[in-house]
Symmetry: D2
Subunit: 429 residues, 4 copies
């Protein structure tokens, strides 16, 4: 991921240094288990002394140099270790590279997901707060982009919150789904290693053993995780699209914070643009695009081909970094979001109350009018007299045949919020 | 879905007739609940008598005619019902169209998923059978498309089986995820209906109420379901890619059944092509392509815009029908799959035993040789003497400095299958 | 494509009847050429008599019956013809099925593209008309969804028109790109047919010969065509997204025609929704999704595998039908588009003239103020005094140090349209 | 793009340094044109002296610092320049940031495309060489992965070459398509700049003026370019999938060069894997995935929203770098490709000559047998007697009723290459 959208915590996760740390962690866990099972001699453990002050940058450098010759990263890593410790020959005993890479991947991806989960939980907390604060603050509900019926700002946030809770669950499922390692050897049949070793290693690493694998962990797990990450990103896509729509000059109900020294345009000093929300909307497109290549990685040949590898080197860091970035950015936008309740109220009034048709429709049906006819009347009045709807309906002879003045007033003052309490209760709020 | 790939059971699910049946089911459940809650008069129930012999084809025809004028399918549906029963005016009381459509959608999609689940379970059963039957049948394990080390046919199927079990779980999760309805009104705030009505209706329909909705059920649920369907399809993609690879003339290990009157080519009478596996591989590409549009449907405007609707009318039937079709087709291929064990054995032998290097590598490391050096020796021998590997290694002076004849024989007769039992036990097989 | 979005002209193109008509056309062109080249006897031409009153529906029916046995559509087609004419045995001489299918595909896809091109040209004509009619009609230009600077309605349409002209060119390129056939036999090496036959056949069919092919026409041609169709669709996506944005209640500048009997919502009689524009926006997502599977079809195995075939049976009709449908629908929307110039004028005024900052910025720079400082002043005034910008700027002491009253008035009355004529001239308008 | 897949020439193109160089180039071209048109004073040209020894790294650093405050990269760039030269205030006169960014983008993308084009031409040259060298070298033609009929290695390469020529043309079209700049101001109406300035600037930059723009160059141009780049990548996908298929152990006809010190597997010293071809196949999936986000960027709001920007910052460098990398890698693979003609010959013979059915089919039809019956005979013989096809057919009583020994021999010795010369002539080879 380019620097511009890369936060330091997640940058750490995807650094080469962390990768080889995890590789070594896996190799050492295997070595220990093999000593326990008396497969390799006890003295192999001395490697831990030799490596206790290891300089990972030096190791990376040597690995890179050797890799140029052997064209294989794990082999180069092992050869570099053999230069440092004579006991390194006991590493990787009976393993194939992917035993190390994929098990380490599980650890690394889990770290990335844990970061995302933590950040998203904070994001969700802010959605909840907004839902609580604005529980009863009216705002026009819009469908198809046009006025429908009144609702509350709080309910908007509660909708996002509810979707976010589903995504949080999905991230937790993803952490479970990815927490599988394998030490099953070159074609996954444990020809040189017993499944017990694998089980022991996974215990040490706080992972679960993949019940059966080929040379690698099956890639449907990765695609499952990306599926869920994309869904999470699309929760933000929806929220920040909403903010952009409500930030339009003609609407003016929500706006992103605009900082004192910030400038909106090189040409137009008057501009205040919702650029952060737009940036989120853009990055979500990028994130969504990764769905396809990750899914194309599942059907590998036989016991595996390596065509998935180059993609994963790029996509896994990029998608998790981009998601981490947009959650952080999004959290800050929502936290400081400017909500102009005065403007919201004006917007609800300035085009007339023509949107109050539904109470009349239902009342007329109760009076015995067919739905079809009642609808026609209300459509006519609301479409032609929208600016003076209240008067028009009060004086409409057909309506007045069925509804009293009090009944009309009841409809005109309909309480659209009467069930808000009930909805919040469903969330324990 | 075009007829060619459309099986009758799933065709039924997506017929317009089933759709309006489900619409009516939802409307009547609401009407009953509203009578129970004394919101509409008891006599409204008489509609059930009026509709008890309803001709759905007639209803569809009238709806279509009316829709041409009003350009709204649910309104047309209601107007057609008003022609049939005077009590139809009590239908849809306080509802918005999407209360009906989305709740009915949940029922319909669930029906489709249940069909898929049932078919997939049979598919899985056959994978399991093959895994059991071929548990100890050797086959060359291949990585990168080239010989790696021996494994068993059963392990191949067990891998697919294991992946399939994950997908079965995902389909079950999808059924749970989609089994939510909503009766929350035009902007989702229950302004004319209490949440209790919704809860009552969902109980009648064996659905759960969406805790909070906009005008519609949030579309992350749909994308979640499609994600999982695509993963399922990709399980088949992987299996049938394998079959295609093993069907190559030079490999000849697996082949699709070829029926007596079947013809492979209009030009070449000798041809026997794995066309069914290829068809599955093709259809999976189509299925995967639907990921993107369904994900683009999540971020709708405000309380909803209707841009998702046209896509869903096409994709939901198409993707479920295509998946149902490939599972059925795939099941039949695997059931009658021709596995040529004689050819498999020949293939394992005809290029020499050069692939037996790993036991030597490990044995040499045990003898104290560095991994790096042992690797070099074995690479040299296997790359130059692959056809006569057994002799070459027995006579290699460097190897013989470290390994006795018996040790070499042990390596040459390595039992690659010694842990197969353990793996199967993990599945209770 | 489902009936709902299928127009009759394009439905004809994709009917099975048209397909076998084209197959027969190709087969007969080959037969004629082979008679000319004395490869088959002259009497073979008698097949034309036998087939002159052929009932294509009967032929389709027999083909379908035979296909069930032989599992190959072209073979079934030929066997059905052999039942009708004894000379049918001279058909397909030296051909492989794909010689027929792909050459016929070129004819069919070209028909579909020609329909699309014709409809799109009418669409473009209407864009041009709107551009001309509204050439000087002011409207607020918006970037980031917020007010930027004034522009004209005509320029909006001219932008779409300009993009559409590029797409028209791309469709023409696509017609050229797809107009290639092949009669090169089973693996594309003309082992039983000379390239001269192919050239002769293509002349008869008004196609060009593919210079070299495998068993099939290379699929990059298909992907190229779909690429361009998607770009065309996205021209409509952009236009109808604009209309939806300008149809928002708070904006109210553009609106779709709303027909007298049309109903917007089952719950809310007041609703007038831009459903047709939304439908277009939805269908474009579907169309875009087809990019991926069509691109996945290029890398087939060796001289071809058939995995592309099932996808193409679905996507080619669906994407061309959907595009044809949205162009027709879009054309009708634009033709009857309601443009509320009064509302547009109000919108330009009701939030103040704060957006007139740029003329001041440039004037101040001309006076020697640094860009940075001038920007700060104007940002301050426009952000704090937007509703009274004209007064505020006239009375701002810093501004007044540099600009005279006349200069300020000049800026406040800036002619944003002075180069409109020049732009139109570039299009010969 | 991660370092691993980033070649230095293309890295230069996408460096920030090159970006601001191009920005400055555009700004200075505008400044010069405005001096020529007497819009700004002649002394403005002195900025060129002030900037002649400019340290771009310093400029980048200052820009980055200022951007943190103003949150706008072009403004920060201009403010940094104002610190260096007092005449910098004359820069950007009447411009909006996108005038600079998009015009510079055209220059940068063109540089990237020119690099790609140059590298691809070399790649194509090597395809052509291989086509020439192996013009008459037989190889089995395969369809559906199984033996079809003989063809030549040269024809394989000629197919790729032919596709590549189409892609080369598409890259040239893309260079033309992207070579458009704009200096049309904030909403594209030239309110502060005449179109003549734009024309003059574009002449200086060797670009063409976009006839009409919004705030930005319309993004269908970008999508068009990416479409074509993806097609180019898929040419490589096809070629290297072929190489992988032909590298399979059982096939063994083609193989990637394997360098002396290269190691194939950490576990299995015998392994020689086609890892470079697999890497190309993987990266093409990544490249294809970018289609969707770039297409989602076309339909921006009104005169533009900025949601496209973050994506483009990532995708444009990544896709061009990845493509440049795979062409280079691919070129080297093909150049040193090991083609084992001995093995190819063996493969053509070891399963029998059963694939020689077509000449018999055609000969029998010429003798008056119906195609259907002749087909049945040949299917029977080739399916049951494939290993002894020659004998079987010579002794088949039904065949012998119609064909003499000489005729049978003619068929068994069919010259499948008789039209190879003609095909090559079509390419002037």
């Amino acid at each position: 991921m380019i620097k511009r959208y890369l936060l330091p915590e997640i940058e750490e996760v995807w650094k080469d240094e962390n990768k080889i740390k995890k590789w070594l962690l896996v190799e050492l866990a295997v070595l220990e288990a093999q000593v326990e099972f008396s497969i390799i001699p006890k003295q192999a453990l001395k490697i831990k002394d030799d490596l206790k002050d290891i300089d990972y940058n030096y190791l990376l450098k040597r690995q890179a140099e050797i890799e140029k010759e052997v064209e294989h990263d794990v082999i180069a890593f092992l050869m570099a270790l053999e230069e440092i410790s004579e006991y390194a020959k006991y590493l990787h005993y009976g393993l194939t590279s992917s035993d190390v890479i994929d098990t380490a991947n599980a650890l690394i991806i889990r770290e990335a997901l844990e970061l995302i989960k933590k950040e998203y939980k904070e994001f969700i907390e802010i959605l909840k707060e907004k839902a609580i604060v604005y529980k009863y603050s009216p705002i026009m509900g819009r469908t198809h982009g046009v006025y429908a019926e009144p609702t509350t700002i709080g309910l908007k946030f509660l909708n996002y919150y509810s979707e976010a809770l589903r995504n949080l669950k999905r991230i937790e499922d993803s952490i479970e789904e990815i927490s599988y390692g394998k030490i099953s050897g070159a074609v996954g049949n444990y020809a040189f290693l017993s499944p017990r070793i694998e089980e022991e290693v996974m215990k040490k690493l706080n992972l679960k053993p993949e019940k059966i694998s080929t040379q690698i962990i099956p890639r449907d797990r990765y695609a499952y995780v990306i599926n869920n990450l994309v869904l999470l990103a699309e929760n933000l896509e929806r929220i920040f699209l909403e903010i952009r729509l409500l930030s339009r000059t003609e609407v003016g109900e929500f706006s992103e914070p605009f900082y004192e020294k910030q400038r909106g345009s090189s040409a137009m000093p008057h501009k205040r643009n919702p650029i952060r929300s737009e940036r989120i909307n853009g990055l979500v497109r990028l994130i969504r695009g990764y769905l396809i290549p990750i899914h194309e990685n599942i059907a590998l040949w036989h016991e595996r081909d390596i065509s998935h590898s180059s993609i994963e080197r790029i996509i896994l860091p990029d998608i998790t970094s981009a998601i981490y970035y947009i959650i952080r950015l999004g959290k800050n936008i929502i936290k400081d979001l400017i909500i102009d309740e005065k403007r919201i109220k004006e917007n609800m009034e300035k085009f007339g109350k023509y949107y109050l048709t539904q109470p009349f429709l239902l009342k007329l049906v109760q009076k015995g009018i067919s739905r079809k006819i009642a609808y026609e009347w209300l459509k006519r009045i609301s479409h032609t007299e929208y600016q003076h709807f209240e008067n028009a309906i009060m004086n409409d002879s057909e309506i007045r045949n069925y509804l009293s003045e009090d009944e009309i007033k009841e409809c005109l003052n309909w309480n659209y919020y009467k069930n808000v309490e009930e909805i919040y209760k469903r969330f324990g709020l």
